[in-house]
Symmetry: C2
Subunit: 320 residues, 2 copies
């Protein structure tokens, strides 16, 4: 099977169509229109077999996750998503694999009203690179660098579930209740990009980042970019029912602080904006928790349990 | 070495800065501004060790080529380039390799006044994916689908050199003259994206494509998209001095028609626009040749030698 028929057969047919795409798949490049007054937001993430997913993972799951992690980056900017480009490296032109992958991709493009506008297929080790593009009014973008001492630190959803799911998949832990097992595996495979939260936080949050490598690692980017310190109250970390029922409290904290792949948003909000935040978040129906506060101590990250400082060494996932 | 220090150390420092980049490397996504009235042009290409370059290729050469092949796609749309995103998969965080790669990348970003706005680094088999973005006034974009029967077919530069260079590198051929050998290897390693030609062809060419897989394969995309046929005069194919001096004429034609990696532009121009074409191309100082003409015979590709139809089976590079 040739490259062109792969793209035509599997990707073009199920593609969601947007009006701002003048020219999609099938030319040397895509032509799209960014709305007046909006900045273009661009992000790229690669998922590699054996690193970001198991080599025998469901192709549709790989597709959904590859889209989700990129959309999560757009969400963290307060952007709305518009278009994605896909580069896929595959050992062989396996039609069943490609068909399942394309179905997963199409589910995502339809659900999020985004369009696949182009890409590349090469023969090689299984890897998926997606570039996602979206928009945000430039002055409303959520940056890592605009956090202020005194800001309260919030996260969406619950933390650590994907990490527990991965350990379950790798037989490093057992999860007694099958419903809980299903839940954490689903959190690993189908992260939810918090797009509506991201756009709702425009003009409310001072800073925002998505949690991909683990809270304890990712928050440092905000501290560094904004020259702040932070206190995290580990007893305030939001834990799912599945997490609480499956692992010891101390282990749950470890997952919540250090495990990757949550794709929840961490954001900071000044005291004055807390009222607006409540209203805005209520409209998203996404749970959120205040887990700590920023201070002026540059790059200092402190953990507290029941308001007592504790010694906790947590490192997120490192790529090398 | 951690992902963040890789990006900071090797890519951020040497980066060309553009005024239309509101936020570059270092946040969840980049923020850029597309000029009013321009369409955004986006393309993605992956280069894989062992497929698109030899595993021991010079890192700076890999970087330059990865940028060039993407810019070539923008050139084929008549677009001017603006920003690139990079995803790099590397077996180990080899500092010498990364430093050389970053230097090659920085040469390109400075030369073409483009900015690296983000990316991803993962540990895995050596592969480089670049997404390039640029602009073109939407009504002036050069498409594959706007060719007309009667259009003359042109190519820039000379054809087949990179293919000869690859065969030389693989010891499949010998090139007697070392200057010629150097020339064809350079054509393989440092393709020249025809950006100035691309923008000069706006409102002059009806259709355009860049030659990446080989003329005989790539022209079919224009024939299919525009529902045309074509006659190619193989005696009019532009051959370099190095090509003419190194291989038999029949072999030279084979390289020119079937070898990949030329990254020249193939474009079609109506009889009425030929005068404008001469003027526009003179300003680019890039050589160009009329190699045939389009006709109304859908998807029929015919080769002629001294105006006699010849039987020539040529296939470009296939990815699977």
């Amino acid at each position: 099977m040739k490259e062109f028929s792969i793209i035509d057969t599997f990707f073009k047919q199920q593609n969601h169509q947007r009006k701002d795409v003048l020219l999609g798949i099938g030319d040397d490049a895509a032509l799209t229109v960014v709305p007046a007054g909006q900045a273009l937001v661009t992000t790229t993430d690669t998922l590699l077999a054996g690193v970001h997913f198991l080599p025998d993972a469901e192709p549709s799951t790989i597709a959904r996750k590859a889209v989700a992690v990129n959309l999560s980056d757009l969400a963290a900017m307060g952007a709305e998503p518009a278009w994605i480009s896909l580069s896929i490296s595959l050992p062989t032109a396996d039609e069943a694999w490609l068909s399942a992958f394309a179905t997963g991709l199409a589910e995502m493009t339809r659900f999020y009203s985004i369009q696949l506008i182009g890409g590349d297929t090469v023969q090689g080790p299984l890897a998926v690179t997606i570039t996602a593009q979206g928009f945000v009014p430039p002055e409303q973008a959520l940056l890592r660098s605009k956090a202020k001492p005194g800001d309260f630190i919030y996260v969406t959803g619950t933390l650590g579930d994907a990490g527990l799911g991965l350990d379950l998949l790798l037989n490093k832990v057992t999860v007694a209740d099958p419903i809980n097992a299903q839940y954490v595996l689903n959190r690993l495979h189908n992260p939810t990009p918090r797009l509506l939260v991201g756009t709702s936080l425009r003009r409310i949050a001072n800073a925002c980042i998505d949690l991909s490598d683990g809270l304890s690692s990712d928050i440092k980017h905000i501290l560094q970019a904004s020259n702040c310190g932070a206190t995290i109250n580990v007893d305030k970390l939001p834990l799912s029912k599945a997490m609480r029922e499956s692992v010891e409290p101390q282990n749950a904290v470890k997952y919540a602080l250090s495990a990757g792949d949550d794709y929840e948003l961490l954001f900071t909000v000044s005291e004055e904006q807390k009222g607006k935040l409540e209203t805005a978040m209520a409209n998203t129906s996404v749970s959120f928790s205040c887990i700590g506060q920023l201070n002026g101590m540059s790059n200092k990250l402190e953990y507290r349990l029941n308001n007592q400082v504790i010694d906790y060494q947590a490192t997120g996932y490192q790529h090398f």
